[in-house]
Amino acid sequence: MIPELGHVALIIAFVLSIGLAALPMWGSVRSSTSLMNLAPTLAVGVTTFVAVAFALLTVSFLQDDFSVAVVAANSNSLLPPIFKFSAVWGNHEGSLLLWVLILSGWMSAVAMFSRGLPLVMVARVLSVMGMVAVGFLAFSLLTSNPFERLLPNVPADGNDLNPLLQDPGLIIHPPLLYMGYVGLSVPFAFAIAALLGGRLDASWARWSRPWTNVAWGFLSLGIMLGSWWAYYELGWGGWWFWDPVENASFMPWLMGTALVHSLAVTEKRGVFRSWTVLLAIFAFSLSLLGTFLVRSGVLTSVHAFAADPERGLFILIFLALVVGGSLLLYALRAPAVASRVSYTAVSRESLLMVNNLVFTVATVIVLLGTLFPLVMDAFSLGKYSVGPPYFNAVFVPLMALVMPFMTIGPLSRWREDSTARWLHELMVPCLGVLVVALVLAFLGKDGFNLWIALAVLLAGWVLLGVVKDLWRRLSGAPDGRLRWRTLNPSFLGMTLAHTGFAAVVVGAVVVTQLNEERDLRMAVGDVEELGGYRFELLSLGQQPGPNYLADQATFEVSHEGQVFAILVPEKRRYFASGQIMTEAAIDASLWRDLYIALGEPIGENAWAVRLQYKPMVRWLWLGALMIGFGALITALDRRYRSQVARHAVPDTGALGVAG
């Protein structure tokens, strides 16, 4: 009964979303206040029924209802309850339902927090989001119904969740990532609404900005968690593989990075408007493209749950409609909203333009590398694969290119600045950083490393710029006191995110350059030295888990004669699927990780073992955390709230110049 109720709830949500897509939009055309007023109610209605459907699917999982096809395929009576819960989205149908749930959650959030916006704007935004919801609910109901039953042949037990996904990281990684992915639909909806209304001014940018920052922040956190999960769960110790599915989430992030910065210019100065709108459209389109790549089964990946051409075709058509429709609208309306504000070559506008260009080019490059094999295959021109060397060769120089500008940007003035002033502001940081980089690069035990020197130089440059900016804001009060009040959330968020970026760069370069890895055969009593650490294999044993049996190896790790860790990597065999899984053992710290993974047994009493010494790998994720939280903090800025309280800007300034 429960699955049928869930199915009904999903159908009701679908009907409501059609209402949301049509009625308020029609109301905005006819200037009908009553129709437009329906938008928030309908949005909350869709959310409620999707949430009910999601809850009922969760109940089916927790109750081991193996008559439901997805439960039978992805759960097992022995599966620990917490993983039964996360198994809800550890499969194609359930993860799509999560997608819709989060989309409707964003719709309700917009409905709730936009009471101060003009009604017609709210109606259009929610309507556009409703259209997206119609597409995905239809996709769920027509091609991937999560409530499908296996009647009358109900299996006695389920197939179990893919062991790779039986991990705490999976409980939060998809929801966070989807928060970001789907959250980009909000700036998209705002952009479309602005194009429809011909209203694209600074206040529009101010409404759109906190949503964009929050979505982008979640996306950053989601990607970071994915990278971390891959690191400890896949047993290779890698943190980024340029896997097409990673790229699928990385492309919206790159485009979102450009959007976040471009929106700043549009809000403060009223320029880059049509460009900002285009970025918003592209960012969400790339989210949809990512969904297509991941969900259609065209890729080989842990994320590709099942290959079903019908599903791929559905998303492809939806993608074409969304991209085609919004670009058409853009072509028709963008000329009407072009800006008439000027700025000079030496100004903050130009610097932010550099950011935009670099991140757009980076997106195109990643897109090219990701789609190239698919396109070649589609036209039967051969089966290619584009690997990490391509991405590294093009992506790394681009990031190095943007970093010098990252420091100048926050310190520079809008409209017109002078290079002399920049020089005056930055001379000291510049020299300081050069010295630090040279000294640090020589400290490595293998002598001078050019790449680390460059990374420290660029990261230090960014960091010193941040410090200088901070100091400039705090000091300068006539009474010599520090002006703490100048540190608003917008500024603090930016500072945190830029610092995080510097940390990611240093972490990535150091771990790539100084990583030590050895695959070898070790028997009980064998000793191996790596990165100055001594690893001794003490014993081998077996340990049963709730739904698996694990082979364990116990290692004693010592440094300079001092034993400081016992690491126990495992090789698990899961009962239900018979699948084998590596569980790496990691001794983590801020400056280095020690990583041990088991391969397969070799002869009697010996195993193939992978030992790794990974210096500063934590910096990557700490930096990404700072980027994500930095973005979230900016949304707390008072000006976004007072904006709402002030009941927005009157409609008359629609196409006028702001600022």
Partner: protein
């Protein structure tokens, strides 16, 4: 010059410089870094290059995995039920690597026609087949009882 026109000029020249740099980089990077996929039949027919890295995909032949007792060297055969190619790999194989399962090996062919693999990829769960392998095996079935080892 009019400020707006100057602004446009800056924009356009920036775009031109950046995109040409990007195109140059892409062309340079793509040149060496794309790998073609070959099923074993194509390798045996001599269609695969020997001077660069390729991807070989198919099924691991039953009873063909030979593991060294002293180090991490492994030799196994990969088949598309038409022809088989030997693969040598030194390192830790993925968890789901097994006889009779789909696999993609990346590496270069040596003079004897053996693939010296730098990377071996297996599928991610028990029902999933790498798409390239699935396509290479399309329409071909394992002959019952016959050994694929030449």
């Amino acid at each position: 010059m009019h400020p707006l026109r100057k602004q446009r000029l800056i924009m356009v020249s920036l775009v031109v410089v950046l995109s040409s740099a990007a195109i140059g980089l892409v062309a340079f990077a793509l040149r060496d870094n794309i790998n073609l996929f070959y099923p074993p039949a194509d390798v045996i027919a001599g269609k695969a290059p020997t001077d660069r890295s390729i991807r070989l995909g198919g099924m691991v032949v039953e009873n063909s995995i030979v593991r060294s007792d002293t180090d991490l060297n492994t030799i196994f055969w990969v088949t598309d039920y038409e022809a088989s190619v030997a693969v040598q790999y030194s390192g830790i194989l993925p968890d789901l690597f097994a006889e009779g399962e789909g696999v993609v090996a990346e590496g270069t062919l040596d003079e004897s026609g053996m693939l010296i693999a730098t990377q071996v990829l297996a599928k991610h769960d028990e029902n999933y087949m790498p798409p390239e392998v699935a396509a290479a095996l399309e329409g071909k079935t394992a002959p019952a009882g016959a050994s694929m080892l030449p």
